[in-house]
């Protein structure tokens, strides 16, 4: 520490030195200007003599000029002597030097003492946002789980809980280890394999490595409908540079998924990106998903439930039956409903119930028949037309669809002028028939509804442009 102060003092002295040298040096004599003026006037006198010799000036003129130069010379000499007198009193600036010698080290100390501290807080340009704090209860629970597992390392439930918690806490490496333990205790469990593989992928910053691929493949082998595993296997193909391979996997996943599957938008967006990369038409290659597993609540007509309603007694009776018996009971009830409707074909609610029941049974032809009955009974029922169009929709968004489908779509458009599906398919029909204006109008209305980042947008825009 003392060494530092010595060095600092020496440096301060060094900085003072040139200042003091300048301040303490006696000021230079101010004779320069007078000397110069005298030279000029001597030259002028010489010139006058020269001109006189050559006869340019007369004697009188020369005398007058000489006198003028002499007068000026005298006045310059006066000024010079006055200046010398004044500068004689100018002593070296001793007082300034003293002040500077004292003030400079003091100022340096004044700046250094508050700033030159190792424990000053940092002054960053921008701070990193603090990580979301983990609630203390969670930390406690994790500590408890970890301690419990040390004593009983075969507690598969605790490992699973710990793995999920680590995942939520963004500790992917720990999550991987915990999932490995879960898999060790429940070997061959497809969903655990999928979870471990996903944790591995997260730990590798989204790269699906070989081990993850193997685990996902095993998960799919265990459950062909493991959407997570199938999605990531497509990712793996993309990362390996095989875009078509990825598209094959993802389109197959879409085709196997119910229309209301939560992962569909993600998969569709991926398909769109990948397809545009290799110059394929995303709409053309994306298949339609399977019908929604549960009808969205908005589509349920206000008048009736989803299936023939059961009384509480019937429900209780059903609960006690075997699965086969339950099925048989349901079938007989549905058949009874159909028979009733034959006698009373104006019951649109009844037809809708029948259609839903038939669809749940997997008998799509019968479901379509029931919907035809429903729209005949009540041609203004939007839900019926929507269901009918859904069940008669072409497999592929590119094909035009049957006349019945297009008819249903036209009815839907009459009742709901903004229905996107109707706008799309009717626009396609118009385009196929060469009615370009109509197609542009319909697709234009559809475009207006699509969010700005909808994956279908560019494709639709392209097709609209090609109509011109």
């Amino acid at each position: 520490m003392i060494g530092f102060w010595l060095v600092a003092a020496a440096l301060t002295a060094l900085a003072l030195l040139p200042l003091l040298r300048t301040l303490l040096r006696p000021p230079p004599p101010l004779e320069g200007a007078a000397e110069f003026a005298r030279g000029v006037y001597a030259a002028q006198v010489a010139e006058i003599e020269r001109d006189l010799k050559r006869g340019i000036l007369s004697d009188d003129q020369a005398r007058a000029a000489r006198a003028e130069v002499g007068r000026r010379l005298l006045s310059v000499a006066d000024e010079a002597s006055a200046a010398t007198k004044a500068s004689g009193s100018a002593k070296p600036a001793q007082r300034t030097a003293l002040v500077v010698t004292l003030l400079l080290p003091l100022a340096a100390l004044g700046v250094y003492l508050p700033l030159g501290q190792p424990n000053l807080p940092a002054v960053p340009f921008a701070t990193r946002p603090p990580e979301a704090p983990v609630p203390p209860q969670v930390m406690e629970a994790v500590a408890k789980l970890e301690a419990g597992l040390k004593e009983n390392p075969d507690d598969v439930g605790a490992w699973g809980l710990l793995a999920q918690t680590y995942g939520a806490m963004s500790r992917p490496a720990d999550a991987v280890n915990a999932w490995r333990q879960v898999l060790r205790l429940s070997p061959g469990n497809g969903s655990v394999q999928g979870a471990l593989a996903e944790a591995l992928t997260v730990a590798a910053d989204g790269v699906v490595g070989e081990e993850a691929v193997r685990l996902f493949t095993e998960a799919v082998a265990a459950d062909a409908m493991d959407a997570r595993a199938r999605y990531y296997l497509g990712m793996a193909r993309i990362q390996a540079g095989d875009i078509r391979g990825a598209l094959d996997r993802w389109t197959a996943l879409v085709a196997d998924s119910p229309a209301d599957a939560p992962w569909l938008p993600t998969v569709r967006a991926r398909i769109h990106d990948a397809a545009t990369q290799v110059g394929l038409d995303p709409i053309a290659i994306t298949p339609s998903p399977k019908p929604a597993s549960a009808p969205p609540p908005a589509a349920v007509p206000s008048g009736g439930g989803a299936a023939p309603a059961l009384s509480p007694e019937q429900m209780q009776a059903m609960a006690g039956m075997s699965q086969q018996d339950q099925q048989a009971t349901i079938n007989s009830m549905v058949d009874g409903l159909q028979a009733k409707l034959k006698d009373n074909p104006g019951d649109a609610d009844g037809w809708m119930r029948l259609a839903r029941a038939r669809e749940v049974q997997g008998n799509l032809d019968a479901a379509r028949d029931a919907l035809r009955g429903a729209v005949k009974a009540d041609p203004k029922r939007l839900a019926a037309w929507l269901d009918l169009s859904r069940l008669t929709a072409p497999d592929d968004a590119q094909t035009q669809g049957s006349p019945e489908f297009l008819d249903a779509m036209a009815k839907v458009l009459d009742l709901a002028p903004d229905n996107p599906q109707a706008l799309y398919y009717l626009g396609q029909q118009a385009a196929n028939e060469g009615k370009n204006d109509r197609a542009r109008d319909l697709w234009g209305r559809l475009l207006k509804q699509l969010p700005a980042d909808a994956p279908q947008r560019p494709e639709l825009q392209r097709r609209m442009d090609s109509l011109k």
Partner: protein, 181 residues
């Protein structure tokens, strides 16, 4: 030349310095900074012999580099872009039958082994370049880097940074095909 004109010329000096510097900068702007020329292109790979990741394991030396067209990939487990390109290397090795050698750059053998266990091992042989000496001979700027070596063991192409699908499809694979003829 009088003292005054010399003085005047001195005043022009800053302008002259500015013009010269400006000229250099303008020239620099027209160049692509991502092009990193290699001194080794079309020259034999440097002479080297690296040990394997663990003792007794076969390493990599320049004697391994002749006979067929192959790749050398410089990687490290601590290198994030290496993870990104790794699935591509796996495809090249397993599906396209390309021989890939590796230089494991300034890495801990255990970490490298864990990396390969998770991400897969596309390499025919791996040399552990712990102090980065061989990488200096190759002129490695940073990991990952990939070199195409022809049958005579000469460096034919060098790719700096992670391989992307189009690098592989448009550059590496056609080049390997061409050189293998």
């Amino acid at each position: 030349m009088s003292a005054v004109t010399r003085h005047r010329l001195l005043l022009l000096l800053p302008l002259a310095v500015f013009l010269i510097l400006g000229g250099y900068f303008a020239l620099g702007l027209t160049r692509d900074p991502s092009i990193l020329p290699s001194m080794l292109i079309d020259k034999p790979a440097p002479v080297f012999a690296l040990p394997g990741l663990s003792e007794g394991e076969k390493g990599l030396s320049n004697a391994d580099l002749t006979g067929k067209v192959q790749l050398i990939n410089v990687f490290a487990s601590w290198c994030a872009p290496c993870r990104v390109e790794h699935p591509l290397l796996m495809r090249l090795a397993n599906e396209q039958g390309v021989t890939i050698h590796a230089i494991n750059y300034k890495d801990k053998p255990d970490a490298a082994k864990a990396f390969l266990a998770q991400m897969g091992n596309p390499y025919t042989s791996i040399g552990a370049d712990k102090d980065g000496r061989v990488a200096i001979d190759f002129g490695v700027y940073g990991v990952p880097e990939t070199y195409v070596i022809d049958r005579q063991g000469r460096v034919r192409y060098r790719h700096v940074g992670p391989l992307m699908p189009f690098d592989v499809d448009e550059k590496i694979l056609p080049m390997i095909r061409e050189l293998s003829k």
